[in-house]
């Protein structure tokens, strides 16, 4: 278990809070890396936290003085680690089986507003090629296929509210929005299949139990809900039923 501390200095009167400070275990085929993001950059550690194997400083070159600069959204896809940034760019790092020889292999352009979250899953077979989805502050979702070069498959437009959290399950994108809605889309086409008026305030996080198809949503309205997702094999429709 890892906990992230936001206090930068020891003085209780001064709080150098680091917004966008995220910690994520990235499980890759041959190793596990611990990835941290902050407003300065991206750090990658060996899984026991003992050695920092890589440091990437964020480039704030294009930022105007009023723009907050940070990295947010971390996910592993195959032997890649993807990290979102304030500009909307998604950085793709190629991770070797061992050692520190990590390389920034691509910068994905698809978003114009800060990335909020990234979700990945192992490709489900030749029908389901989508294995990564990225979300941003405008609510836009981009669906990708990973590879030596990542390919943008679908764009699912937002509707004026941020999408703070996104998950991917068996070719279904589950997105939680700032207006309390959870929406499920077909990843390959972007078609909306389910819309849940789930919460009365912004959704903070979604989590997924992939083996049983259960989705959890937590929001600022103090409620946590669990949903049962199912795909019907014949007509490719997605259903959700409330469990809690």
């Amino acid at each position: 278990m890892v906990a992230a501390d936001s206090e930068g200095s020891k003085d209780p009167g001064v709080r150098q809070a680091d917004l966008g400070l995220l910690v994520h275990w990235c499980v890759l085929p041959f190793r596990v890396l611990l990835v941290l993001t902050s407003h300065r950059g991206i750090q990658m550690f060996e899984s026991d936290g003992s050695i920092m194997v890589y440091w990437h400083a964020l480039d704030s070159g294009d930022a105007s003085p009023v723009q907050a600069v940070f990295a947010r959204g971390i996910a592993a896809s195959g032997h890649f680690i993807c990290v979102g940034t304030w500009s909307g760019r998604v950085l793709v790092f190629d991770i070797p089986a061992k050692g520190p020889n990590i390389v920034l292999s691509e910068e994905l352009a698809g978003h114009q507003t800060p990335i909020t979250d990234i979700a990945t899953e192992r490709a489900q077979g030749q029908d389901c090629v989508a294995d990564m989805v990225t979300a941003d502050d405008s609510g836009l979702l981009c669906v990708w296929r990973s590879g030596p070069e990542f390919k943008l498959l679908t764009r699912i437009p937002g509707f004026g509210v941020p999408c703070p959290s996104v998950q991917l399950w068996q070719g279904t994108v589950a997105a939680g929005y700032g207006n309390g809605q959870v929406r499920l889309y077909e990843a390959s086409t972007g078609t909306l299949h389910v819309q849940i008026n789930a919460h009365a305030r912004a959704i903070c996080a979604l989590d997924l139990a992939p083996e049983v198809g259960k989705l959890l949503s937590a929001a600022e309205d103090t409620f946590v809900h669990i949903w049962k997702l199912s795909r019907s094999p014949e007509s490719v429709s997605i259903e959700a039923a409330p469990l809690l």
Binding site: D137, N197, P242
Partner: protein, 379 residues
């Protein structure tokens, strides 16, 4: 962190301060003309154009300590005098109230409506002074320019920046305790009923669509809360129905303004370990204060006798008692900057601070900044 947060923080806290001072002036039966002068002086200092210019520059939030110094100066821009215990209590009330308002905002953008509520009420307090009213209206325009076009995501960042600033603040306020919006441990009660935010649907419905986009099934579920639809959106115009009540004046003559000190431990002997390492932000904080306070035009009271003491407590004994029993971890360690009342550039301000009495022990310092820091520690 959002660098656009300071104006919202300052204006809302300032609004709360004015509500409390207004209540105390009436509770202490201060004559109408004196009370009006106090409020006019504070409002005109707050909304002074040069000061607003500094405030609206993109910048990080500084510590509660630094901000408290600005309000100390602001309160004393009028003829009232507040001693340490009353100023502490005033600042506690201001910060708890605004924290509550930010937390309760249905949408992140509603913090702007809260700010407008404060401005509307401020205009009511200084009704008779068209010049000051104009200053407030100009600030309104500036707020609309800066915040009117921000996205929901940017407001979410501002909200998070504000909540981080108020993190771990759990001072109990008797009005909140009585109204049951705050628990006895200082945590706020989050309601699960009432209107949903504008733009949110009432929870409880699942809609399912086929690949052609046709709705094929709906399922209702019990959400657990008791929400209703939002009646209408608050107005962001210069004049209008804000709909939201957060940020309006919750004090009246009869409602007391007590706080309860809820320190983490009742044992005053337990001290938090003081850090020996110098605070890296301290120099920046001093510069920030110098800039803001330098822009504050304060008037010399024409008649020194006209100044009078305002007490935030019911009696003087209570005030003394509060000063003695304030828990260590809640002390603000106020930075006393005795700048003159004319406009000062920051170098001049630093020079003046350098003219304070120094202690016997000689000090080697590498720069003027270190000098200032050392002097602050000795105050």
């Amino acid at each position: 962190m959002s660098v656009r947060t300071l104006p919202l923080l300052f204006l809302n806290l300032g609004g709360e301060m004015l509500y409390i001072l207004d209540q105390r002036l009436r509770a202490q039966n201060v004559p109408g003309d004196k009370a009006r002068k106090v409020l006019n002086d504070i409002v005109s200092t707050m909304f002074n154009r040069k000061f607003m210019e500094e405030l609206f520059k993109p910048q990080e939030l500084y510590s509660k300590k630094a901000l408290r110094t600005v309000y100390d100066r602001l309160a004393h821009a009028s003829i009232i005098r507040l001693n340490q215990a009353s100023m502490d209590k005033l600042y506690d009330l201001m910060t708890v109230a605004f924290k509550y308002q930010v937390l309760m905002c249905p949408r992140p953008k509603d913090v702007l409506l809260v700010t407008f509520n404060h401005l509307d009420a401020i205009k009511g307090l200084i009704r008779d002074s068209p010049a000051i009213l104009n200053q407030v209206d100009e600030t309104f325009q500036q707020l609309t320019e800066v915040y009117g076009g921000l996205s929901a995501g940017e407001f979410q960042l501002i909200r998070q920046t504000l909540l981080i600033f108020f993190q771990d603040l759990h001072i109990r306020v008797s009005i909140f305790l009585k109204d049951r919006v705050q628990n006895s441990n200082g945590r706020f009660v989050l309601p699960v009923s009432g209107p949903v935010p504008w733009g949110t649907e009432v929870p409880g419905l699942i809609r399912m669509f086929n690949s052609k986009g046709e709705e094929v099934k709906t399922v209702e579920f019990k959400h657990g809360g008791n929400y209703v639809a939002a009646p209408k959106e608050g107005s962001f115009e210069l004049y209008g129905d804000r709909v939201l009540k957060l940020g309006t004046n919750m004090y009246s003559v009869n409602r007391p303004v007590e706080t309860h000190m809820s320190g983490a431990s009742k044992n005053l002997a337990s001290q938090t370990q003081e850090s020996i390492a110098p605070n890296p932000l301290a120099k920046e904080e001093l510069n920030f204060l110098a800039r803001l306070l330098g822009g504050m035009e304060t008037k010399k009271p024409s008649d020194p006798e006209a100044g009078f003491r305002l007490n935030l407590f019911a009696t003087e004994e209570e005030e003394e008692q509060a000063a003695l029993t304030r828990p260590e971890e809640l002390s603000y360690e106020v930075i006393n900057i005795q700048a003159t009342q004319d406009q000062q550039r920051s170098e001049e301000l630093a020079r003046i601070m350098g003219e304070f009495e120094i202690t016997d022990a000689p000090r080697q310092s590498a720069s003027k900044g270190d000098d200032l820091l050392a002097m602050m520690d000795e105050l």
